[in-house]
């Protein structure tokens, strides 16, 4: 691929990304239909559940570290959060736990 072709490829990816992000705003410029407003309000918890699954999609339960570091990291995050409700602390605790397990044990 020449440099011009490479830059065109990158630009195409950029245009696709902006289009996807802007599509709902372009489609519903004036009055948003009630159904779409409902979807917009009802979606967030479903999206976050989907994102958690998406983040964990490459974890294999049958090979490598069997997902143990990730499971431990999730547990620490959830417990810390239920206990202290300090977002940064929960995230840091879970991440450090997962990193230590991955780097030193598995």
């Amino acid at each position: 691929m020449t440099q011009t072709q490479a830059i065109l490829t990158i630009l195409t990816c950029g245009i696709a990304t902006i289009l996807i992000r802007a599509l709902p705003f372009l489609a519903f410029r004036k009055d948003t239909p009630k159904y779409i407003v409902y979807l917009g309000n009802a979606l967030p918890p479903a999206i976050f559940a989907m994102l958690v699954v998406y983040c964990l999609k490459d974890v294999s339960l049958v090979s490598g570290s069997h997902g143990i570091p990730e499971a431990a990291g999730m547990t620490v995050t959830i417990l810390l959060h239920l206990w202290k409700k300090q977002t940064l602390l929960s995230i840091a605790g879970g991440t450090i736990c997962c990193m230590l397990l991955m780097q030193f044990i598995f």
Binding site: T2, Q3, A6, G14, I36, L88
Partner: protein, 234 residues
């Protein structure tokens, strides 16, 4: 910087710390990956501005190594980024009155920025649009910084960040947990989890997102009455 924007920055910055810890190392990793594939050092910076979407940027590396085909590139990019449709839908009403800021807010609507802007409580006395813009700009700066450093480092330095990407998983988990603690019915969260897991099993990790999104929309439509009645709507 005037008083008001300083207050906004003070309110916004703490929310973006997890994103910073995620974006900078991830950006560096991506930058190193991109340049070590034989691309110029400024490509990561370029993609961080033009594309600004982690997974697609990683994918660009293999696209650049393949044949030149803009239509295919466009279709793949649309598929990879499809989940961003949901963010636009969820922020539709919130961003509506943002005026000239709206297009920057839309352009920078990444997974992480969406997560914060969708869920953060905005302190009193601070304009929500300035707050959201500040979050979006900080996140964008972190990502550009990481990518640029990575591009410059190239193959020179190797460091062990294994497991650091869990910071994003952990952040989404905490936000999900906050949503669950706030609402009563949890119908939407259950639908999201069940649809995603089911589609992951059925379609595999590379192509489960789009069917999962379709199932989520379908189920939310079918269960509209109970969801509305449970009062879980944000």
């Amino acid at each position: 910087m005037n008083r008001q924007s300083l207050d906004t920055l003070k309110a916004a910055l703490p929310h973006t710390i997890p994103v910073m810890t995620g974006y900078i190392p991830l950006g560096i990793a991506y930058g190193v990956f991109m340049t070590s594939a034989g691309n110029p050092f400024w490509y990561p910076t370029l993609t961080s501005i033009v594309i600004y979407g982690g997974s697609l940027e990683f994918l660009t590396v293999s696209m650049l190594a393949g044949p030149f085909n803009l239509l295919q590139t466009f279709l793949v990019a649309i598929m990879v980024q499809a989940r961003h449709l949901f963010y636009g839908l969820a922020m539709l009403e919130k961003y509506k009155g943002a005026g000239y800021r709206k297009w920057y807010l839309i352009y920078t609507l990444t997974d992480e920025t969406f997560s914060i802007n969708c869920s953060a409580d905005i302190p009193e006395g601070i304009s929500r649009y300035s707050f959201w813009e500040c979050i979006s700009r900080l996140d964008h700066i972190y990502w550009m910084t990481g990518c640029t450093i990575g591009g410059l480092l190239g193959q020179i330095i190797h460091f062990n960040t294994e497991g650091l990407d869990f910071v994003m998983t952990s952040m989404f988990t905490v936000i999900l947990l906050n949503q669950l603690l706030k609402e009563k019915g949890h119908i939407s969260a259950w639908i999201g989890a069940a649809a995603s897991l089911l589609c992951l099993l059925l379609f595999g990790r590379d192509s489960f997102l789009i069917p999962a999104m379709a199932v989520i929309v379908l189920m939310l439509t079918v269960f509209r009455k109970p969801v509305e009645r449970s009062g879980d709507l944000s």
